[in-house]
Symmetry: C2
Subunit: 169 residues, 2 copies
């Protein structure tokens, strides 16, 4: 009764910012994953390398908490990174139960390659925008991310269940 709403070119929310963000964001994720494939890595690996580059010596638990990954999942990811020689599980000096995670030299090189891949990716993705527009877009997205409480540099794909900060209801 309110309105028929059928077939009116769908002008409302379906083409709104919410959907466009999901759509273009999903495309960006998929394309980045494709570009990472030839390096033998997935996006989850890249995120770990990045964190360890900034904060070497983390334990698996600390790393898992920072990214929002379950410990059991982290085991496999670190196994793969170890097999590729990019990350080392060194014995922790104080506590013999835990490891101190460190990037190897090859790990830092891989991170450089990932950075170049990310640059190419971004270049391709933003081909429709000039430099000033890209800066504006980055500003908008960073503000949204901050207001929504997203952790800088941490992809929500890591977090699957059980937010630690559930104050909403």
């Amino acid at each position: 009764m309110a309105r028929p709403r059928a077939n009116p070119e769908t002008p409302g929310p379906p083409d709104g910012v919410g959907f466009l963000l999901s759509q273009v964001g999903g495309h960006s994720s998929a394309r980045f994953a494709e570009r990472l494939g030839p390096l033998g890595l997935r996006p989850a690996h890249a995120g770990i390398l990045r964190v360890l580059d900034q904060a070497g010596g983390l334990s698996q638990q600390a790393l898992g908490e920072r990214l929002g990954v379950f410990p059991s999942r982290l085991v496999g990811l670190l196994d793969e990174l170890g097999r590729l020689g990019l990350v080392e599980r060194r014995d922790s000096p104080a506590d013999r139960r835990s490891y101190a995670l460190h990037l190897t030299g090859a790990g830092r090189e891989a991170l450089d390659r990932i950075g170049r891949v990310a640059c190419e990716h971004q270049e391709d993705l933003c081909a429709a925008l000039d430099a000033s527009e890209r800066a504006q877009l980055a500003g908008f997205l960073a503000r949204i991310a901050a207001q929504q409480g997203l952790t800088p540099g941490v992809h929500p794909g890591y977090r699957k269940l059980g937010d630690p900060d559930a104050k909403g209801s």
Copy 2:
């Protein structure tokens, strides 16, 4: 040898537009899925309802091709939508193998509810931006989507493998 590159506040691509799009886009997808939960629907259902609202009478094959979904996956999704009474599989007049898919009245109502949910979602998501900025953002995203060859209104989450248009290499 080139550069140490360790710990320099990560100024380069990691905080670039490519990552921000993935991050905020993933967040948008996750939050929208949460908001859809109480309606008993997932984003994939919403996309189907939307297409059928615009193009009623489609066969499952035609719908699958438009969205990039495998036929076998579509069966389950349409079963669920049928069970909820939102979509009807009517007999096709010409070809008795295929169905003609139609939204029911309840399906159109559900689509209205989804529209309201999407509006709330977008409102919450863009709280950091004023109206003019949201319009600019939407413009940027629409231009990127068009240049990247994304189909309007179709989420890349449907497409999992085997692009029909692989002309790149």
